[in-house]
């Protein structure tokens, strides 16, 4: 695995915009509850209306937003791929950072607990990358999102205080969690649709 301790963070809003453009060219994809989450730039003046934090804006889905099930399903799968990308990038960064740090004269990466944590995240990522054998419903996507969320949080714990920096490795994982909360979380009683 290549390591990149100087990775840049904070591009999740741009990546999300690109996903909108890829799945529904010229439109934005609405969440099942009728909201759109995108960068402030993508939403133009609407971007001043409802802020989450750190570059993403949530608004009621504008007229013309994509709402059909096929597009929503493709977008949801794209979100999971995006989250997996972000977790993977953070794993790479974490290995690099921990490799640079020493304690009592040895690399932190020699600690069995850290090795086990990193290996668990890597295994989760591989599993998440497998194409589903059959069409995935909302409940299953949510479960996949939560597994990736927990893998990401393992990395944030390993990264320590730097994971709380607004321009640090935690920001994209947080935004992926918020996006999952808006697009992937099933309504109560949705069932596996």
């Amino acid at each position: 695995m290549t390591t990149d301790a100087s990775a840049t963070f904070g591009d999740y809003p741009a990546l999300l915009d690109a996903l909108h453009a890829d799945v529904a060219p010229g439109r934005l994809v609405a969440s099942p509850s009728g909201r759109v989450l995108a960068s402030a730039q993508a939403l133009g003046e609407d971007g001043t209306r409802r802020f989450t934090r750190f570059g993403l804006v949530c608004v009621p889905a504008p007229g013309g937003s994509a709402r059909d099930d096929v597009t929503a399903g493709r977008f949801a799968e794209g979100l999971l791929t995006l989250q997996r990308t972000v977790v993977h990038r953070t794993l790479t960064h974490t290995i690099a950072r921990l490799g640079e740090r020493t304690s009592e004269g040895t690399s932190l990466l020699t600690r069995p607990q850290l090795q086990a944590d990193l290996a668990d995240v890597a295994m989760e990522l591989r599993e998440a990358a497998v194409e589903p054998a059959e069409e995935t419903g909302r409940d299953l996507r949510w479960a996949r999102h939560m597994r990736l969320t927990r893998a990401g949080r393992v990395l944030l714990r390993l990264l320590g205080g730097s994971s709380m920096l607004a321009e640090g490795p935690g920001i994209d994982l947080y935004l992926a969690e918020v996006t999952g909360n808006v697009y992937l979380q099933p309504e109560e009683g949705d069932g596996d649709v």
Binding site: R35, C58, S103, L156, R157, G160, G161, S163, G170, N181
Partner: protein
């Protein structure tokens, strides 16, 4: 299962009586005032200046300051103690964080430095420090963590060199993730005078002195704590500002850091428990009809919070009694930080899709609680601490080993 509408806070046992009971009642009332300001602080970390009149904002300074320097005696009830015990401060920390953890950590006062002063300072040094931090409002900092080094006390690299001319010292180095660092009037800095664990010193600094530089770091959570990066660029330190300067070297710098962190660590657990409890209560306030498996999850989390709270009060009492068990303190702190994360994640799920957008306070808490993992040592460090306790056969208490039938019933009653 408990009856619908009952909040997680109502699950708490009646731990205290007498003065502490009054204190808890007061804390419960004033903590309510912190939630709205906490949201404002999240948007503007400097907004704390608009809320300095709130009793809850004055509590930290009062409780962590020795009685003869405490100036809020007329503003707070008589049962709010100055120079609080660890158990009293834990109680306050939990309720204040229940109100809002960001506001709690943004409040003026001596904060963690008070524990170092208690452990190491002579009368003149106490006078120097607390005279400054007793001015209202004034903040202080505790600077141990360094860039790339974390909070491992024995590995710090900030240097304390003899001053040219031989009178006093010169401080050089950087500190990272220091709460209120960029706005403090005074603070305690840990630095290295010589190699080895006994070469560590704790020095008091006045941020108005030449050579002190600070910048606030933009954070995702606990933004009100105004977490900062500090740089000491050849800052002159007079000899009388070395804490414990008349003690043997083995009983000052490093020992002060360890004692301070041991004293303060339970309150980080208390912050986490308070925030976790707040998340559970928020769900029940927003979804009073919550039932079935979802309700059972909230009940289960509330039960874990209640149990951990008992353990927290036990370790705090052990510290006050002068017989702390560092391994148990580690276990409680680590578990509390994880519970707080679990509680906010559960709340986000139970409040439905887009809950983090629709409930800005929950979104704030969701970000805030992650910081408790890193304050006073990460979870993995504390896990190792618990393991060390197991190796030494000093983690479990006699109660934990008591498996007599009926003992559990006695424990509940």
């Amino acid at each position: 299962m408990s009856e619908p509408g009952r909040t997680a806070s109502a699950y708490l046992p009646d731990t205290y009586g007498g003065r502490a009971g009054e204190l808890e009642h007061f804390l419960r009332e004033v903590a309510r005032d912190l939630r709205g300001p906490g949201e404002e602080l999240d948007a503007d970390p400097g907004a704390v200046s608009r809320f300095l009149h709130l009793p809850a904002v004055r509590i930290q300074q009062h409780m962590l300051t020795p009685a003869r320097y405490a100036r809020d005696r007329d503003l707070l009830p008589r049962f709010v103690p100055a120079e609080a015990s660890c158990a009293e401060w834990v109680l306050a920390a939990e309720w204040l964080a229940y109100g809002d953890p960001g506001m709690t950590l943004a409040s003026p006062g001596p904060a963690l430095s008070t524990a170092v002063l208690r452990a190491l300072a002579d009368e003149a040094q106490r006078d120097w420090f607390f005279t400054r931090t007793s001015d209202w409002p004034s903040w202080s900092f505790f600077a141990l963590t360094e860039p790339g080094k974390g909070s491992a006390a024995t590995e710090l690299t900030a240097r304390l060199d003899p001053a040219p001319g031989g009178d006093g010292w010169v401080l050089t180095g950087e500190k990272m993730y220091i709460g209120n660092g960029a706005h403090a009037r005074a603070g305690v800095v840990f630095c290295r005078r010589a190699p080895g664990p006994w070469g560590i010193e704790a020095v008091m600094v006045d941020t108005g002195d030449p050579g002190f530089h600070a910048e606030m770091l933009p954070m995702t959570g606990l933004r009100g704590a105004r977490i900062s990066r500090l740089r000491f660029d050849g800052m002159y330190i007079p000899p009388e500002r070395i804490l414990g300067r008349d003690r043997p070297r083995s009983r000052r710098g490093l020992q002060g850091a360890l004692q301070a962190m041991l004293w303060f660590r339970p309150s980080v657990a208390a912050f986490a428990l308070g925030a976790g409890r707040a998340a559970c209560d928020y769900v029940l306030e927003q979804r009073p009809a919550l039932a079935g498996a979802d309700r059972a999850q909230v009940d289960g989390l509330a039960d874990r919070l209640r149990r951990l709270r008992r353990l927290l009060h036990e370790v705090a009492a052990e510290i006050d009694a002068g017989s702390p068990n560092t391994f148990r303190v580690s276990g409680v702190k680590m578990r509390a930080a994880h519970l707080a994360e679990d509680a906010t994640m559960l709340a986000a799920r139970l409040l439905g899709p887009a809950s983090l957008v629709e409930h800005p306070w929950l979104d704030k808490l969701y970000r805030d609680v992650r910081a408790f993992e890193f304050m006073e040592g990460t979870g993995n460090v504390h896990r190792r601490g618990v393991f060390q306790g197991l190796l030494r056969d000093d983690y479990f208490t006699p109660r934990d080993r008591d498996v007599r039938p009926g003992r559990a019933v006695e424990g509940v009653i």
